[in-house]
Symmetry: C2
C-alpha cells in the first residue's frame, strides 16, 4: 500500500483549528524546544536538563529482582490495579516519607503516573478557569504548563535566599482578592528549589504555611528533592506539621528512577477521595508493573544507602559547578549555592539576555535553560538562567562552565562596545517584575 | 510520634468542600463500588470486571527478557523519555496496527500511560464545558467518566446488532445543533464493543464515518479489542480509510498486559502536536521502563502467536458463557453474541431491574455490572447488564451463569407474585430512552 498524501506533505493547514477547546491556548511549545534538539548532540555539554544520574543504580540487582518479581508475581504485576495504587507500596511510601517527617495513613496516599500526574490531578480538582495559583518567582516550568492548561492565572511571589517570601505572599493574596480574583492554591517547592536552588528554613516554612492557612488557601508542597541534601540533613516537610491544609507531592524519580513514572500525593481525606476518582478517569490506575518493581526494590534493596550514593554523586557535581563558576565567571554574574537537589540559578551581568544568548551558547557547545521559561508567559527571568549539574560528569561540568563563561564574556564585550546585544531579540514581556533571586 | 487526630477520626467534614472546581461535580464514585469490594471475595464468580487473562502470557520469557533489557539498556529504561513516546516503539506500533489496516508515520503516534490517558488528552484538547460528545447507547463506562470530568454533555445514539446506527447519529447531531449546542466528537468502539459485544461491519463503519465527516465532526475510534476476533479475522479500522477525520486509540492492555499501562493515539498532524504538549503537561512522558519492555517483547517474542493464544482462551470462555446462557436463562432474557472481545450484553425480562438485583446476585455469589453504569447519568440500561467472560475459567463461568439464572428466576417469581421487585430501589433517571440492544 502506498503512503497516503498526508504522510509525504510537509507543512499543512490544520482542519481542526476551530474545534479545539479554549484551554489549548495555554498549550504552547517551548520556544527553545528546537534548540534543545540541537543541544542533545553529544559534543554539547548540557547543563539544561534535570535528568537524574540513573547509571549510579545497581542495575544487575534491579534486573535480577525484576525477573524474580515477574516469575513469582507476574499475573499481579501485569494486571490492572487499584485506582489509588498498590496498598503495600502505599505502606512503604510512609517509610520513605519518614525522614521528611510526614505521618499519614496508607489511605491518605494516591499513587500516580509520576508526581507530574498528581500535580495535574490536584489542579484539575481545584481550579476553575481564572482561578489564581500563587507560585515562586521563578518556579518549575512544567507546573506552569499544568496551570496554563487548566486556564489558571499565575501570580509569582518574589523569593530571597530562603525561598518564597511570606510577606510578599500575603501581599499578593490581598492584591488578588482586591482585584476580585479567586486565589485557590499556593504552590511551593520548599527544599532544594527547582530552578532556584534555595531551601526554606523551618521558620520560613511556618510563615509560608501561616500565610496560606490564615487566608484559607490550600498549600501544595512539591518535594522531589527532599532526601537529596548534601550534608545528609533532610528538611522537615511542611506537611509534617499540618495535615488538613497541605497536599504533599512525592516521587521516586530522583531517589530510584524517573523512567518508572511513579509518584504520589498525600492529601486530606475529602481531597484524596476526589484525587482517586480523577486518577481513575485519567489513567484507570497507575502501572502495577512499575509499582511492584518499586515495592520490591524498597523491600529487598538498601534503598536509603542508594539515596546516599546519589547525594554523593550530586554533591561532587555541585562542587564542580560552584568551583568553576567561582573561578571563571566574569564580574557581575551571581548564582545561588544549592545545599541539595539538581540546580543553581545564575543571574547575568546587567544588559545581558539569557534567551538571546542561548543560540550563541549552543554554538559554543554548552546548553542551559533561559530564566524566562520559569515565569508564566515568559514575563520574568530575562537576565537569568538555570544550570543543572545532575547529569554530566564533573569534568564535563567544568568544561561546560568554561564555555559558558566565554560566551558571557563575548556578550559583555558586545554590550560594552555597541550597547545591548539583546535589541535584536524579542522580549515578550516586561523585565523581571520582582527582585527574585538576583 | 503519636498518630495525629485526623488519622483516628472516622467520618469528617471536608473543609475544602467550597474550594473544588466545578468539574468535580462530574467526578462521582460508582454506586456499585462498595458492592464490588464484596464481590472480589474468591467465592464470588465475578462476571463483572474486564481483566485480561494475563496468566496466559509466557511469564518466564518476559522475566528473562526484562532482566536482559535492564542489564543492557538500564540507563535508558530507567530515565525520562520523550513526551511523544519512544521512537522505536512508535515504529513497532505501526506493525501492530498493520492487521487493522492503519497506515501512518511514526510521528503521527503519541504514546500514553494507557489508552485511557489518550482518551483523557483528546477530550482535554477538544472539549470546552458544555460541548457535546455523541456516544453509543450503551458505551464504555470510564469514557463517560472522562467526558463528565471535562463537563461535556453526552448524547447517546441507539445501537442495533451492528453497533451505532448512522441514521440515529445524523438525527442526534441535527437535534443537538437545533438546540443550540455544540457537537464536538463522535466516540465509537466499532469492534467487539464494550459493553455491547457487537461489531460494526465495513458498510456500517463507512456510514458512521460519513455521518461524522459530513457534519464536520471528528471521529474518535477506540479499538482495544480489534485483534481479538474469535474466527481470526480482524475488522478493518475506520482510521484505515480516513486519516484527517479520525483519531484512533490503541492499547497493549489486551494484547500484551494491562499492568504496563501503555496505549497510543494516532492523530492528524495538528491534533498530534497538541496531544504531545498535553501529554507532557499531564505526565512529562510515558514510562520508558514500560515502553522499552513492550518494545523488547515485540522484537524478541512471537507477539502475534500470543494474540492467537489469547483469542483461543477468550473464545473458549465466550462459548462457555453462551452455552450456559442458552441452557439456563429463563424465557424473556436475551443477550448479544460477541464475535470477539470480552463482553456480552444481557437484557432482562420485563419488569426486572439489574441494579436492584445486584445485591441479591452478590448474595448468590455471582457479580455483573448493571447496565445503568454505561449510560451518562445512569439514564438508561435499567433492565440490562454486562457479563465479562475474559477472566474466569470456563467452569467458573458456567457456575456463575447458573447462579445468575437462579437469581433472575427468583426475581421473576417475585414480579409475577407481587408486581415489580424494583419499587423499593431508586431509579435515578427515566427508563431507557432508546431501543438500544434490547
Amino acid at each position: 500500500m502506498e503512503p497516503t498524501q498526508q504522510q509525504t506533505t510537509g507543512t499543512r493547514l490544520d482542519p481542526w483549528v476551530d474545534a479545539y477547546a479554549a484551554r489549548t491556548r495555554g498549550l504552547t511549545a517551548s520556544q527553545v524546544r528546537a534548540l534543545f534538539a540541537v543541544a542533545s548532540r553529544p559534543e554539547v555539554v548540557s547543563l539544561a536538563g534535570g535528568m537524574p544520574f540513573v547509571s549510579a543504580l545497581p542495575l544487575d540487582q534491579i534486573a535480577d529482582m525484576t525477573a524474580r518479581l515477574l516469575r513469582e508475581r507476574g499475573p499481579q504485576a501485569l494486571q490492572y490495579g487499584s485506582g489509588q495504587g498498590d496498598v503495600t507500596l502505599r505502606e512503604q511510601i510512609l517509610e520513605v516519607m519518614d525522614p521528611v517527617g510526614v505521618r499519614a495513613h496508607p489511605d491518605d496516599i494516591v499513587v500516580t503516573a509520576g508526581s507530574q500526574m498528581a500535580l495535574d490531578l490536584v489542579v484539575r480538582v481545584f481550579c476553575d478557569p481564572g482561578d489564581v495559583v500563587l507560585v515562586e518567582a521563578p518556579t518549575y516550568v512544567t507546573a506552569l504548563g499544568v496551570f496554563s492548561s487548566y486556564q489558571c492565572q499565575v501570580v509569582h511571589v518574589p523569593m530571597d535566599e530562603q525561598g518564597m517570601r511570606p510577606d510578599a505572599l500575603r501581599e499578593a493574596i490581598a492584591r488578588v482578592r482586591a482585584e476580585g480574583r479567586t486565589p485557590k492554591l499556593v504552590y511551593t517547592i520548599p527544599s532544594f528549589h527547582n530552578p532556584g536552588g534555595v531551601t526554606q528554613g523551618p521558620e520560613r516554612r511556618a510563615e509560608v504555611l501561616d500565610a496560606a492557612r490564615s487566608n484559607g488557601l490550600l498549600l501544595l508542597e512539591d518535594d522531589p528533592y527532599g532526601l537529596l541534601g548534601f550534608d545528609g540533613s533532610v528538611p522537615r516537610a511542611i506537611r509534617a506539621d499540618e495535615a488538613e491544609g497541605v497536599i504533599y507531592l512525592g516521587t521516586f524519580s530522583k531517589t530510584i528512577a524517573a523512567g518508572l513514572r511513579v509518584g504520589w500525593a498525600v492529601a486530606p481525606h475529602g481531597v484524596r477521595e476526589k484525587l482517586v476518582l480523577a486518577n481513575e478517569t485519567a489513567t484507570l490506575c497507575p502501572s502495577n508493573f512499575a509499582q511492584l518493581t518499586i515495592s520490591e526494590y524498597l523491600a529487598t534493596q538498601p534503598w536509603f544507602d542508594q539515596v546516599k550514593v546519589f547525594r554523593e554523586v550530586y554533591r561532587e557535581r555541585r562542587d564542580a559547578l560552584l568551583e568553576s563558576l567561582d573561578a571563571l565567571m566574569p564580574p557581575g554574574t551571581t548564582w545561588t549555592v544549592p545545599a541539595g537537589g539538581f540546580y543553581s540559578w545564575v543571574t547575568l551581568p546587567d544588559g545581558l539576555d539569557a534567551t538571546a544568548m542561548l543560540p550563541r551558547a549552543v554554538a559554543a557547545l554548552v546548553a542551559y535553560v533561559p530564566g524566562t521559561g520559569f515565569y508564566a508567559g515568559g514575563a520574568g527571568g530575562h537576565n537569568a538562567l538555570r544550570l543543572s549539574y545532575c547529569y554530566p560528569e564533573p569534568d564535563r561540568i567544568r568544561e561546560g562552565v568554561r564555555r559558558l563563561a566565554g560566551v558571557i564574556e563575548s556578550e559583555l564585550e558586545i554590550v560594552q562596545t555597541f550597547g545591548s546585544p539583546t535589541t535584536a531579540s524579542s522580549r515578550p514581556g516586561p523585565s523581571t517584575p520582582t527582585p527574585d533571586l538576583a
